[in-house]
């Protein structure tokens, strides 16, 4: 396979080769112009510093996509409902909504959920142990844990959780017929509308209650404002966390020295370990990796110089987080999986105004989920290969066979 510096994006290759290629590209140039399957061409950002600059520069916007003036440049057709979410809002409109939601999903709020998350984790581990000494960790633990935590956090009643989960996963599917996705989306939408109305009437300690009763200076949030927030939390809140949980456990099991370092001081080391998992674990699960994934693109509103490259007004840019997280200028020996890496401001959860809204929740779930698993099952080992479903937007892990 060619390893030419000009080759980007690049096809699947063994993960260590993929990392080395990312590193060389970041040294060679800050951006690459890429033809996308959907939408216009876009610039992929490889350098950490440029990514930071773009993600905090108000001259880069997403309004043209939200207004349907342009198609989002991406490797897939962007689901229509996502265009109405916070992720595509700019400026003051975004600021108003983001801040109200941020209060509801803040570090403090999430801290309060830590104990409950550990309880759920231990219930799932009890169930695995009761069944024997092997499990599919994806199905039995990594997926149900964030689903149950998020359902409780949002405020979905326990009895409705199975159908809620089915709806939420169907709307993300890339190979379910469009009319079926649409019908399921409508069911989910009206279910959430009813729940918001109920929580407005009778508030509880959950996110929908907070949003249903949140006030900014002028008025309370409308249903039309709350719905996209609830929808994006669903989209990002299930599979991404599950995927990183599974990848993190797999990476630790494949790197015995790192697993030992973690077990030496589980509670003290789990936080930096999770940052390193977010940065690099996908490259340590034994699967080949390709180059070219990216955050949602933004459009330049005027000509902007990025590290010597002129991005013209109207051109789109996006960050390749895998590339940025292996930029040698920002991360020393970035190919090494080191759970005690210091000063590692990885960008997997993005950065700036559109940085991951659920980041505090995702981090807490990963910290608790991985720590409780190794506390209860310190002899955990791999019992097969990791499998991911390439037909769903978030590429969820479907199989991670383990034994103990």
């Amino acid at each position: 396979m060619s390893d030419s510096l000009t080759e980007y994006p690049f096809d699947l290759r063994p993960a260590p080769e993929a990392v080395a290629h990312q590193q060389r590209i970041a040294v060679d140039r800050p951006l690459t112009r890429v033809a996308m399957q959907y939408g216009d061409e876009a610039w992929a950002i490889h350098r950490y510093g440029v990514a930071q600059q773009v993600l905090t520069d108000p001259r880069f916007v997403r309004g043209p996509f939200a207004r349907r003036e342009r198609t989002v440049p991406a490797a897939f057709e962007f689901p229509e409902f996502l265009l109405d979410t916070l992720q595509f809002a700019d400026g003051d409109e975004h600021k108003k909504l983001r801040r109200l939601v941020q209060v509801a999903i803040s570090p403090r709020r999430v801290q309060a959920l830590r104990e409950r998350t550990a309880e759920i984790a231990n219930e799932l581990i009890d169930d695995m142990i009761a069944k024997g000494d092997t499990a599919n960790l994806a199905e039995d633990y990594a997926t149900p844990l964030p689903i149950r935590v998020l359902s409780e956090f949002i405020g979905v009643p326990v009895e409705d959780q199975p159908k809620f989960i089915l709806w939420a996963t169907t709307v993300l599917s890339l190979d379910t017929p469009e009319d079926e996705v649409l019908a399921t989306g409508m069911e989910l939408y009206s279910y959430l509308l009813d729940l918001i109305a109920a929580r407005r009437e009778d508030p509880r300690e959950d996110l929908l209650s907070s949003l249903a009763n949140a006030r900014d200076k002028d008025d309370t949030l409308t249903d039309a404002e709350i719905m996209p927030i609830a929808m994006i939390l669903l989209v990002a809140g299930f599979d991404n966390t599950a995927g990183f949980l599974a990848a993190g456990v797999s990476a630790l099991l494949r790197n015995g020295d790192q697993r030992e370092r973690l077990l030496e001081d589980l509670d003290g080391r789990i936080a930096p370990a999770v940052e390193e998992i977010l940065r690099h674990a996908m490259f340590e699960v034994g699967s080949p990796m390709a180059g070219g994934m990216g955050t949602v693109a933004m459009v330049a509103t005027e000509d902007v110089d990025l590290d010597g490259v002129l991005v013209k007004a109207g051109e789109a840019v996006y960050v390749d987080p895998a590339s940025v997280n292996h930029d040698p200028a920002a991360f020393k020996d970035s190919q090494i999986f080191d759970i005690l890496r210091e000063d590692s401001p990885q960008m997997m959860l993005s950065y700036g105004i559109h940085s991951c809204l659920g980041a505090p929740l995702a981090r807490m779930e990963m910290q608790v989920g991985i720590a409780e698993l190794f506390r209860r099952l310190p002899t955990l080992r791999l019992n097969g290969e990791i499998v991911r479903n390439m037909h769903v937007l978030t590429i969820p892990v479907t199989d991670l066979p383990v034994a103990w």
């Binding site: 930071q52 993600l55 905090t56 600021k95 983001r98 801040r99 941020q102 209060v103 803040s106 570090p107 403090r108 709020r109 999430v110 801290q111 936080a271 210091e342 000063d343 401001p345 959860l349 950065y351 700036g352 105004i353 940085s355 991951c356 980041a359 505090p360 981090r363 807490m364």
Partner: protein, 106 residues
């Protein structure tokens, strides 16, 4: 020029020179000071750059920014009277601002 003195929860102290107008958060993230995450990059929407300002320096930090007060109620570590979000605290010419980093931001 001004300066910021960062004290970690374990007592480790690091002093850095700041350009006038630079925020306490920008200086920290640029120089790899541990414990100041600033995930939102200074747009006042994540509450992960929380610091406790030395009481003698509080007056140099300016008033609480719009919405900073609300965000300070959401930090992971307890809010104290001297709590600020370091992205909103700018170092003035000739000023030295002393801050202590809380035990957690998440």
């Amino acid at each position: 020029m001004g300066s910021v003195v960062y004290t970690q929860p374990d007592g480790t102290v690091r002093e850095l020179e700041a350009e006038a107008g630079q925020s306490v958060m920008q200086l920290a993230t640029k120089n790899g000071v541990r414990g100041i995450l600033a995930q939102c990059g200074g747009t006042l929407s994540c509450a992960t750059c929380h610091v406790y300002v030395d009481e003698t320096d509080l007056a140099d930090c300016g008033p609480l920014a719009d919405f900073e007060d609300d965000m300070l109620d959401t930090t992971a570590a307890d809010r104290l009277d001297c709590s600020r979000l370091s992205c909103q605290v700018k170092v003035g010419e000739g000023q030295t601002i002393r801050v202590t980093i809380p035990p957690t931001q998440l």
